[in-house]
């Protein structure tokens, strides 16, 4: 790895702004693409094509090219992204819908809750480090400050992981407060379920992230990734593999995804905590869920799959000799995040929702003891190596 370059204050500021813009673009590109991918991937997994109608024919992105192939009686080549303009329709629908506030609701909290969820989801991106190494390093002639090393996160702080976990658990306040402020039975039930579930799964989640922290001996995001991918001992491989599965399970529960989507169980509760929400306020909850998915994927990719390094679990030292792909690159990290998002959707297409008591018993009876054992073993591995 390149030694971290000592940056001047101006360079740091410019890097921070660039990465802020990158994070915003990341959120507002990756999240809609995930919503689109959700339709297509679930469709494919269930033996159908998913959304095909828009842009498949004459209107939209590929319509012009598709027209001639349809006339020749063939399914168009460019049909992988059929249905893509549906995203625009979804977003337009969300903006145009009437924004109803129930008359008996606690107005201030009702209005603030979705913003709380959204902010808690977005702020986390500040501490996620997409590099060492780089997709690009600005050359020396770059007009600002003699070249910009693309290095570290927006704020590559020493307590990055702690910051992420702390902010991420604020998201549940948005759900619980929104549910309570709706002054309706179903949201209240959904909010209670969500509160209990997220509080339960916060424990094994944090404990499963504690094992990498014990192994690496730091909380700094970038350093943690580097140590786990490059320097960790081979003894830690089974440990990290189990930890990865446990972390992923808890991540599913934290983001309220299927099979842990208790708060929005639409069969039992009408729509769960967001029953009374409409328009863009519902959209905020919706977006927050997807951004949380991305955040969970970022953490899992960084700590268990090696982040910007090619191979995880300390195996990167063997891959480092390879000419091009051996160099740490933010592209690997993005690919890992995309793969994990795909896994999220894949699981949704496969596993049905669990019963509520099953979810709780999995968290308390199995995951917490397991992660405690993992932490102890991680300490042992660190002591040995």
């Amino acid at each position: 790895m390149n030694a971290p370059v000592q940056m001047t204050l101006l360079q740091t500021c410019v890097m921070a702004i660039l990465q802020a813009v990158a994070a915003v673009i990341f959120i507002f590109v990756v999240v809609p693409m995930t919503i689109y991918a959700e339709r297509k991937v679930i469709g494919h997994a269930q033996d159908r094509l998913g959304a095909t109608r828009i842009a498949g024919h004459r209107v939209g992105l590929t319509g012009f090219l598709n027209k001639w192939m349809w006339r020749a009686g063939k399914v168009p080549i460019l049909s992988y992204w059929r249905g893509l303009p549906m995203l625009v329709g979804d977003i337009a629908k969300m903006f145009l819908k009437e924004d109803v506030v129930p008359s008996k609701a606690d107005r201030a909290i009702f209005l603030a809750a979705p913003c709380l969820s959204m902010i808690a989801a977005v702020v986390v991106f500040g501490a996620i480090s997409f590099a060492p190494g780089a997709l690009f390093i600005m050359p020396k002639w770059f007009p600002i400050v003699g070249g910009l090393p693309f290095n570290g996160a927006m704020t590559d702080m020493n307590v990055g992981l702690l910051f992420i976990l702390g902010i991420a658990s604020v998201g549940v306040y948005g759900i619980v407060l929104g549910a309570w402020a709706s002054n309706s039975k179903y949201p209240l039930l959904g909010g209670l379920r969500s509160g209990a579930q997220i509080v339960s799964y916060e424990v094994p989640l944090t404990l499963s992230l504690l094992a990498p922290v014990v192994l690496a001996g730091t909380l700094n995001f970038g350093t943690l990734t580097r140590v786990l991918a490059v320097e960790s001992s081979p003894l830690a491989i089974p440990l990290m593999a189990v930890g990865f599965l446990v972390y992923l399970t808890c991540g599913f529960a934290e983001t309220n995804r299927v099979p842990f989507d208790m708060p929005e169980a639409e069969n039992e509760l009408v729509a769960g905590f967001h029953t009374e929400y409409s328009g863009m306020r519902f959209g905020f909850f919706y977006l927050a869920e997807y951004i949380n998915m991305v955040v969970v994927s970022c953490l899992a990719g960084a700590f268990f799959l090696g982040g910007p390094y090619l191979l995880p679990f300390g195996l990167h030292q063997f891959a480092a000799k390879l000419p091009v792909i051996g160099a740490p690159n933010a592209l690997w990290y993005v690919l890992k995040i995309i793969f994990l998002l795909w896994v999220f959707i894949w699981v949704r297409a496969t596993i049905p929702r669990y019963r509520y008591d099953q979810i709780m018993s999995v968290a308390w009876k199995y995951l917490i003891p397991l992660t405690l054992v993992l932490v102890v073993l991680a300490g042992a591995v660190r002591f040995v190596s």
Binding site: V41, G43, H44, A45, Q46, D47, R48, L49, T52, H57, R58, W70, G73, K74, V75, P76, I77, S79, Y80, L245, W346, V347, A349, T350, I351, V362, Y366, L370
Partner: protein
């Protein structure tokens, strides 16, 4: 112990994931090939649908090799029809031993496509063809007789213009 192991090792979940994952890649890799379709999606208006041979479409009269109408006006179809959409008037023709329909009215708007008429016909003179695009804008278009250029008992109904693919 076995239960704990089963809970800790997610073998059942892995089996389920294997099935959906397999189907995902199967469909993903062949989604664009019309000939090789592992997916169940019909690209209907653009690509014609393959119908089963027993599909029951619109009632049609048949003619034999000489171009003569096979129907002999035994009125079996008219009698057996549950919704009574068939009305037959019989007539005569020089040089033909049996009777010949002068009118054969079929009101498709009330037809339930039960195929009783075809089963009861002893002369194989009517069938239900494979046309299912039967929608029309006017009610008159559903009354089909032997006469008329567009709507008659011998040919398929002209398809109304609904979808993009029907244009130009």
């Amino acid at each position: 112990m076995k239960k704990i192991l089963k809970t800790l090792i997610p073998i059942d979940i892995a089996k389920g994931l294997k099935v959906t994952g397999k189907y995902f890649f199967k469909v993903f890799l062949t989604a664009n090939r019309a000939k090789k379709r592992p997916h169940g999606t019909e690209e209907y208006p653009e690509v014609p649908v393959k119908l089963q041979p027993r599909f029951r479409g619109r009632l049609t009269m048949l003619k034999d090799e000489q171009g003569e109408i096979k129907c002999v006006c035994c009125l079996a179809c008219e009698k057996i029809c549950p919704t009574q959409v068939i009305t037959i008037e019989s007539g005569k023709k020089e040089g033909r031993k049996t009777k010949l329909p002068t009118r054969y009215d079929f009101e498709m708007e009330r037809c339930i496509f039960c195929e009783f008429c075809v089963e009861s016909c002893g002369f194989d003179s009517i069938i239900l063809n494979h046309q299912f695009e039967l929608a029309a804008y006017n009610r008159e278009d559903f009354s089909i007789g032997m006469l008329g250029k567009e709507h008659n008992m011998f040919e398929v109904t002209p398809v109304a213009k609904f979808s993009y693919s029907d244009e130009d």
